[in-house]
Symmetry: C2
Subunit: 382 residues, 2 copies
């Protein structure tokens, strides 16, 4: 099966590329390399020293004999995208290639506009490109659990049956996104749903939870293949950030009360979920939605888990509650369905003390690379 | 009260400007004049010969002594918008200034991308402009009933209480927009809802039905004040298009079976609804949603109404069913709530034979201006 991974140089994309290549997929990467430029803009870095994409792909070929094609360019440039589709004729198109940080989207008006235009136009181009060049191609699009917000009822997978005034219908699940970034994902979902209905495109929207971890079996094969790892307050996400903060002796920064509850999954499950989606293509015209996470935790629960493991390893860890830079409920009901991927064969890697301990050990090697002034949040929602 | 009408040169905007000015509001128009350029692009025209905006405003001053300020520029240019807000310090900002044609948005990829970027970025800029310059200003935003699509349950005004698995919540009403244009309005609604919550902006989203009619009391005062009227298959809308088709002896073009049911209102009610919204500002942080239409009709019902009136006036009218260029249900349940504006004082101008007859008489004067090749649809959804 021929598969494109757009955003294949990123935190989720790169391990997905290697995993799929290892499984025998013919993988092509599309990436504009802009994620590395945002590090420059923010005077930040990956905790891990990442090789150039050229070196990454070369090393993979040396180790496995498997070729990964690379197309450097931006999905916002339609002529480029069209040419990639013409050359590769993919069976599936995995779309990670978006600006994925909520704080980045909230820096100011220009970052908000950039995030929405970049993500929405990139995805529109992919939809038009599939329609024009490869109408049978299965779009596998990364959404986010954050599209749903925190409703006071259970979150279903994409759709909900609503009974109302004696009638009923199955309708798209109402969305309450909490940042300009999360909004862009909701816009994408609506656009894709329409394209499936109007043009018969097949699509799977993966509403992914917060991803933690660093290594997969493939990225561990050689230091040149190491995955990027974000710890700064703009691109770092809750669990990974706490682990790195503990490793460098920084207080774990819980925003507000920490009762914010979200879905989480290990990066090892991300790559497998993509494979499951690719193996079981959506039907023609189907807009299929999976909630892609394995467990739910509140932020304070996570901090306490990390605290316990860090203390067992003899580290001085501590939890501190910062004024919440975001506008969000800090105590709320949260329960989301996530059975569809498991029904299709996902065997979750759960968050045990052992897993936290392994990530902690892995990051300690790199702790001198941390730029400390990037750890505390500077971007506020107000 | 100081009020900005963005898109104040357009079909809904211009009569709103005159009506509000007549009621004593201090009105400023913001308009990029792009709507007139789209006529050039499409080799089309307004059925009515419309004066330049300069002449329109000058004539109004001569007739009434009332000044209307004009700012020519695009909401997508933030520095321009910011300067307008600095100079005018509006109490309310009425936002009509979007690309508002579904067929135009479906011409090709570039028109789809243009429509979404133009509408979404324009509205984001208005939200940031209000936040930065006039945080108490009430945003009155034109949405569309088309955001809801045609669900099999009653359509509520913006929100719906959902009971689910023993719990309940009031959530944003699920949206199923049917074109790239309608999608842009859904994106706007989500963006505005977030801005209200995060920044305390006050906003009213008016989900407007299909507007029919031509004159208001003010536009009738002088030929120089006449409103524009669209009859072509790109910008013309169902009822007005049927009336004009009858006037020129063209078959009324019903798409498919004609069972498509929508909400409608007279342009005289549009201007009053804006006044009602302005008089009763949303609360700080409130995202208020009104469904702005007065009656529901199927497309075939409208055609038959026009047929009857045209025949009474001795015209040869006829209904023909074209292959539907859109992707939409042609037979479906449709019932939408519209009590909120009536509760605040709207007295609907209903669609009587007399009203149809008056519009028919008004358009006959201009029938020689019709460019016949623009009447049949050329843009398809596929």
């Amino acid at each position: 099966m021929k598969i494109i991974v757009a955003g294949g140089d990123g935190f989720c994309g790169w391990p997905t590329v290697l995993y799929l290549s290892n499984q025998g997929y013919e993988v092509s990467i599309v990436d504009s390399m802009v994620r590395r430029k945002w590090d420059d803009e923010l005077h930040s870095n990956s905790l891990t020293p990442i090789a150039s994409l050229e070196d990454r792909v070369k090393k993979w070929r040396e180790l496995t004999g498997k070729d990964i094609k690379v197309y450097i360019g931006d999905l916002n440039h339609y002529d480029f995208l069209r040419e990639v589709l013409r050359q590769t004729k993919p069976d599936a198109f995995v779309h990670f290639a978006e600006q994925r940080s909520a704080p980045y989207s909230m820096i100011d008006r220009e970052h908000a506009v950039f995030t929405q235009v970049n993500n929405v136009v990139g995805t529109l181009n992919v939809l038009y490109g599939i329609k024009e060049m490869v109408p049978e191609c299965h779009l596998i699009k990364l959404g986010t659990m954050g599209e749903y917000g925190t409703p006071n009822i259970d979150i279903e997978e994409g759709y909900i049956e609503i009974g109302h005034k004696g009638r009923k219908d199955v309708l798209p699940y109402p969305k309450q996104p909490g940042s300009m970034y999360h909004l862009s994902k909701v816009h994408d979902s609506h656009n894709i749903m329409f394209a499936c209905k109007a043009w018969g495109i097949r699509a799977t929207d993966l509403n992914q939870g917060v991803v933690y971890g660093l290594h997969t079996d493939e990225t561990e094969m050689d230091p040149v293949l190491v995955n990027r790892l974000d710890y700064d307050a703009v691109f770092g996400t809750a669990l990974n950030r706490f682990i790195i903060q503990s490793a460098i002796g920084h207080d774990m920064t819980v925003y507000g009360k920490g009762g914010q509850t979200r879905g989480f999954l290990n990066i090892k499950d991300t790559v497998r979920c993509i494979e499951i989606a690719a193996e079981t293509a959506a039907k023609k015209g189907e807009f299929r939605v999976f909630n892609q996470f394995t467990e739910e935790f509140s932020v304070i629960e996570l901090a306490q888990k990390v605290l316990k493991v860090a203390q067992q390893q003899g580290m001085e860890a501590n939890v501190s509650h910062l004024e919440n830079p975001r506008v969000e409920l800090e105590e709320h009901y949260f329960h989301a369905e996530n059975t569809k991927l498991k029904d299709l064969g996902l065997k979750p890697n759960l968050l045990t003390d052992k897993v936290i301990g392994e990530i902690l050990q892995a990051v300690i090697d790199y702790k001198n690379r941390v730029i400390k002034e990037n750890v505390l949040p500077k971007v506020t929602w107000k």
